[in-house]
């Protein structure tokens, strides 16, 4: 199973029901008295956020959220494996492993990771809900998954216009995989090489996808290249050379007992 999401921008009215659903499900904290506490400026911390662009004399909105990239820079740069892909390719964060280096926040070319540093009283609804001070992003509501069945994320459930579709890319008969295969739903900025798994159906006669769904951050050296350099060159170099230095140090220590030349 390979879960993917499509946002049909022709159907989306911008009612923000998806944002409200995401916040209630993942961001808000619930106090014992049943009160809901939100961060200040809460829409900023929603895992799906509206973004408006000027297009000609109109203003159009799109939603930005984690693309669950196949070749995810955030996963590749994460030193501890706290950012990882589960068996279905959903990009998640294991907070027990996270050391808050925030490399993943910078590495995401779509700028979808947020960090909430304020106070928030009450309990989290589930283990993948917002963790204060840690990076946060869409999990496709993975906490709703039961067994190996496809589930329904909160935003998809809440959308009154069925503008959000969620399905299995590996199900050839499914609506989602057909829309993608027929090129009706497309991923933005394929040139970044991240292979996003969030697709958009652009508005008719609308802007090019490269212009509007996300604001990709064009770095001088892609984060994936830095991660590759670290993992295949710098780390092995460090381990072998320091290992050799320690080994030679020991040999030297043994040989220098009573040797007048040594220092």
């Amino acid at each position: 199973m390979k879960p993917v999401m499509i946002i049909d921008l022709n159907r989306c009215t911008g009612c923000l029901a998806c944002v409200e659903a995401c916040i209630s499900e993942n961001i808000a904290r619930w106090s014992k008295e049943g009160l809901i506490n939100y961060p200040d400026n809460v829409v900023r911390y929603s895992r799906t956020r509206p973004y408006w662009i000027e297009f000609g004399d109109t203003r159009r909105h799109v939603f930005i959220q984690c693309m669950h990239c196949v070749n995810a820079p955030c996963v590749n740069i994460c030193p501890t494996g706290a950012s990882y892909q589960d068996e279905n390719g959903v990009v998640l964060i294991d907070y027990k492993k996270c050391i808050k280096c925030m490399y993943c926040v910078d590495a995401c070319p779509y700028q979808v990771r947020t960090v909430y540093e304020g106070e928030l009283e009450g309990d989290m609804l589930h283990e993948h809900a917002l963790h204060i001070g840690y990076p946060d992003k869409c999990t496709l509501c993975i906490h709703r998954k039961v067994g190996n069945e496809l589930w329904t994320p909160a935003c998809v459930e809440a959308c009154p216009y069925n503008a959000r579709l969620f399905g299995d890319l590996e199900d050839p008969e499914g609506e989602v995989s057909q829309l993608i295969r027929r090129g009706i739903a497309v991923a933005p900025r394929k040139d970044l090489g991240t292979e996003p798994k969030l697709f958009y159906i652009p508005r008719q006669g609308g802007a090019e996808l490269s212009e509007y769904p996300v604001r990709p951050r064009d770095v001088i050296i892609p984060y994936n290249v830095v991660s590759e350099l670290k993992n295949s060159l710098l780390k092995p170099l460090f381990l072998t050379t320091t290992g050799l230095a320690v080994l030679f140090g020991f040999i030297h220590m043994i040989r220098s007992r009573g040797d007048k030349h040594e220092d």
């Binding site: 030193p79 501890t80 494996g81 808050k100 770095v219 001088i220 230095a245 220590m253």
Partner: protein, 216 residues
């Protein structure tokens, strides 16, 4: 007879470097090698230590290193600069050949072992790279577009510092060097016998200087 090996300035600089580098290494290695426990069980505390307990001692050490360079130039007490030259590289090769049993000759060692000079150069270059990349990342808002260049520079600096320091650490715990290690901790003095054994060229220079001083 006791002779001065480490001036007060050299000792203070060394211990500032020791604190900054040790804290930086312990708090930085989980990020480089990718593990959390036990060091990063409190990430906020460790990050604060990494930012401040490395930056402050190292920032004090930098002007002291410059001062020490000036001191070595003008003190004239037989101490030589740590800056390696071609002669040091040739000597280092001879020592390596001797160490691996490929040559019988063992060159005379001056105030600094030539390997030590190369090590100091690598450590200082690495520290410069670490500071130039780490301080902006820790205390300034670097645009994300170029932040990974700083991360890369920081990793290269870390390697440049760590490899020689692993060797330095092994030499420091070697019993044949305990006298100079003790000198670094205390009054900076070693015995002439120790110097004759480990740094004969330097010991000879010191003796010559003393003979001259007595003659005058």
């Amino acid at each position: 007879m006791k002779i001065k090996r480490w001036s007060l300035l050299a000792r203070v600089t060394h211990w500032l470097l020791f604190i900054g580098v040790t804290v930086g290494f312990i708090t930085g290695i989980p990020i480089f090698l990718g593990f959390k426990d036990p060091i990063y069980s409190n990430p906020d505390l460790i990050r604060t230590l990494h930012y401040y307990l490395t930056t402050i001692p190292l920032s004090i050490a930098i002007p002291l290193i410059i001062l020490r360079g000036i001191e070595v130039l003008y003190r004239g007490a037989g101490e030589e600069s740590w800056w390696p030259g071609w002669r040091d590289i040739r000597t280092a090769v001879k020592i390596a050949l001797h160490w691996f049993g490929l040559s019988k000759d063992y060159p005379k060692i001056g105030f600094h072992h030539p390997m030590e000079k190369l090590l100091i150069l690598a450590v200082h270059s690495g520290l410069l790279l670490l500071g130039a990349s780490g301080i902006p990342m820790a205390f300034f808002d670097i645009p994300s577009e170029i932040r990974n260049l700083f991360i890369l520079a920081h990793m290269i600096g870390f390697i440049l510092v760590s490899i020689p320091l692993a060797g330095h650490f092994m030499l420091a715990i070697n019993p044949v060097n305990w006298e100079t290690l003790k000198a670094m901790f205390t009054d900076g003095e070693v015995s002439l016998e120790w110097a004759e054994k480990h740094h004969p060229e330097w010991a000879e220079r010191i003796k010559e200087l003393r003979v001259k001083a007595v003659g005058e």
